[in-house]
């Protein structure tokens, strides 16, 4: 152990010195020779906890991008480190503090959820660590003037209205019950949907956060007595699956509509037959629109890419392109991401000044035969 440290310490110091050199000279041409190797990209999000599936999807997508990069650049590999926040805004800041002390970390794919983003992003901003979230959709996140904040998918200011439009135009509902889990993401989204639906909102109720409530019978009663034909839920799949089951068991006959936080097989597994016919919106592309990525993912993980895997793959590739170009300092990377424009698997990846994606599409998915299948793009 001692000897490893003895050899390792100078190496780390040397690597740091090199990367520091790369930054000060600030010359893209010279980096190919003196480029710092074994840099890291971080994944930040839930790998355990109540909505862990979504985090695992993201990590897998990012991991695939990194391993493909390493195959092509065997002489200068990049590693992916994981920061398991459990999706909890209370855990995120401490974890972010830990992440920013790692000088080899050049970018974070994440934080995955909006609540934890709000808590952790100020720390990343202060330390100058660039983030690209593959899934945090709360609109307010990009309004803080954070230079390091980016996200690769449309926010709820586009998803919310799209969901409302689908409810009004496709489901033709005139009475809608809106509920949320009081999370940054869920409540933000539900409020946008409520605003867009206007007088069609027949009632609303809030539930506790994921893992804090099992019994929703009072909410079910309220939804039924409001006479609504559509139940919109802003929240994640764990609560949504319990809610969908209890709504059906309790005699609610309308359609269950939710957004990207529910787009996971965990929803169908938990809700069982009650999930059938549920609508899930997502600013993410159906996987069959990117067959090459789908095949590579399936080969690596023995399952089809799930929600946000493709987004995470694209996000990681932005960082990898930056590393390849030698943009390893904070400011260089920020500038690189700002001017990045290339075709990814989900879209033409390009960010505006606030870190929002330039191109956004929202899809509606429907639970059919126990699977979440694409229904239509909401335009």
């Amino acid at each position: 152990m001692r000897s490893v440290f003895k050899i390792g310490a100078p190496l780390v110091a040397a690597a740091l010195a090199l990367s520091a050199c790369g930054g000060t000279t600030n010359d893209a041409g010279s980096t190919s020779g003196g480029k710092a190797c074994d840099l890291k990209i971080g994944f930040f999000g839930a790998l355990t906890g109540d909505a862990a599936n979504l985090g695992i999807n993201i990590k897998n997508g990012a991991e695939l991008a990194v391993s493909q990069y390493n195959e092509k650049n065997a002489d200068c590999k990049v590693t992916l480190t994981s920061f398991d926040s459990q999706g909890d805004p209370a855990i995120a800041p401490g974890l972010a503090q830990k992440a920013v002390t790692d000088k080899k970390l050049v970018g974070i794919v994440g934080p995955a959820f909006s609540g934890e983003s709000k808590a952790a992003d100020p720390i990343f901003e202060q330390a100058g660590l660039n983030t690209i979230s593959a899934s945090a959709t709360n609109p307010a996140l990009s309004e803080n003037g954070w230079k390091t904040f980016h996200r690769i998918l449309g926010n709820d200011a586009t998803q919310g209205p799209a969901a409302a439009k689908y409810i009004k135009d496709t489901l033709k509902a005139t009475k809608v019950f809106v509920s949320d889990d009081t999370s940054e993401y869920g409540k933000g989204l539900a409020d946008i949907v409520k605003k867009d639906l206007g007088s069609a909102v027949a009632g609303s109720d809030e539930t506790a956060a994921d893992g804090k409530q099992d019994d929703f019978s009072a909410t079910v009663t309220k939804a039924k007595s409001s006479g609504a034909t559509v139940f919109f839920y802003g929240g994640y799949y764990s609560n949504a699956s319990k809610l969908a089951k209890q709504l059906k068991d309790g005699g609610f006959t309308g359609t269950f509509v939710a957004a990207d936080g529910v787009k996971d097989d965990g929803f169908i597994k938990g809700a069982g037959a009650a999930a059938e016919g549920a609508i899930v919106t997502c600013p993410c592309l159906p996987p069959d629109k990117a067959p090459e990525f789908q095949a590579a993912y399936k080969k690596a993980y023995n399952s089809d890419p799930a929600t946000y895997s493709a987004e995470a793959y694209d996000a990681a590739n932005v960082f990898l392109a930056g590393i390849k170009a030698g943009k390893t300092t904070s400011a260089d990377m920020t500038a690189f991401i700002g001017s990045y424009s290339a075709q990814g698997v989900t879209k033409n990846v390009k960010f505006d000044a606030k870190g929002e994606p330039a191109e956004v599409s929202v899809w509606a998915y429907k639970v059919t035969g126990g699977k979440i299948v694409p229904d239509q793009e909401i335009k």
């Binding site: 309220k222 007595s225 069982g272």
Partner: protein, 328 residues
């Protein structure tokens, strides 16, 4: 407020049904407290293991395709498995976490820490259940049971909801009826057992005065084991009801229910069996009323405000304390 008045019976009955689950779990807290003066914080995990046992056994015997009378048969199997498993876990828990401490006359605080430790250990062991199988390369063979251990496991039995009869304006469903019916049968059974049988008399004797009971020839260790088994069996029954209502269980499902059930036990007077039942039902109904009047996010506020108010006026809970003293 209108919502409460217009849907009074629906809110009452669904509240009673969920309260029955609280009540059954609360029995375990109260029994152990009555005899040992110990809050068994690992009781929530006893509940959770019963639920998983029911899910696994029903998966193994292919309950997903059950229809009609078969469903009823599987339901009986579910209750039997869950109760047996929970009773077993409670027994092991007593043997591993509490008895060694008792033998050494440790102070109550140590037992409390042991209880909290046991609770985390049991819960995390369930959440990491794929790991031991991975070491032996068996996790793919058993993926239906140990795959994705941090995610919820769905209840395999698919019971179609039927509306049976009206209570005023509420159309009672078969699930409401099963949950409430089974809970009431369990409760009456336990109450009669404790107040009439010889073993029950032993429990009451130890609760009232352990030394005298020992002098009169009551085997204290056996009585303690019995209370853990009884409490565990009730928690197992509660787990099946929970699965019927919620449809899924996960490694940390016990936590929030445990807190609520403990609240119910204190509400009714901890150490008092009938108090635990009353506390559970009151809590379930109060949560529903509270949500109807103030909104869903106030559920816990209402429940705990109620607890504080009741304890202000009746510090020993609604029906007073002791298992032994109340009805010796």
């Amino acid at each position: 407020m209108d919502l409460l008045l217009n849907n009074f019976w629906e809110l009452t009955i669904t509240g009673l049904a969920y309260g029955a689950i609280y009540a059954l779990i609360a029995l375990g807290y109260t029994l152990v407290y009555g005899v040992l003066r110990l809050i068994n914080f690992a009781h929530s995990e006893v509940f959770m293991y019963g639920g998983f046992a029911a899910v696994w056994v029903l998966t193994a015997i292919g309950a997903t395709k059950a229809t009609g009378l078969g469903t009823a048969g599987f339901l009986v199997v579910a209750f039997a498995t869950a109760m047996a498993m929970s009773a077993l876990v409670a027994l092991v828990l007593e043997f591993v976490a509490y008895r060694p401490l008792r033998k050494r006359n440790s102070p109550p605080l140590i037992a409390l820490i042991s209880a909290i430790g046991a609770s985390y250990t049991l819960s995390e062991a369930m959440g990491l259940r794929d790991k031991p199988f991975k070491w032996f390369g068996k996790d793919q063979d058993l993926v239906r049971y140990v795959g994705r251990p941090r995610e919820a496991s769905p209840f395999p039995l698919n019971i179609e909801v039927k509306r049976l009869f009206y209570v005023f304006d509420y159309h009672v469903s078969n699930i409401d009826l099963i949950v409430l019916g089974a809970a009431i049968i369990m409760m009456i059974g336990l109450d009669q057992f404790v107040s009439r049988s010889r073993l029950g008399r032993g429990i009451r004797a130890v609760a009232q005065d352990p030394e005298s009971a020992a002098l009169m020839g009551v085997n204290r260790d056996r009585v303690i084991r019995l209370t853990f088994v009884l409490g565990g069996a009730m928690a197992g029954a509660a787990a099946v009801m929970y699965l019927l209502k919620v449809g899924q269980i996960r490694y940390n499902s016990g936590f929030i229910l445990g807190v609520k059930a403990f609240t119910a036990a204190v509400l009714g007077g901890i150490g008092n069996l009938r108090g635990a039942l009353l506390g559970g039902f009151i809590l379930g109904v109060a949560e529903n009323y509270g949500q109807a009047v103030f909104g869903g996010e106030w559920k816990d506020v209402v429940a705990f405000t109620l607890l504080v108010v009741i304890l202000l006026f009746r510090p020993t809970g609604l029906l007073g304390e002791s298992l032994g003293k109340a009805r010796a």
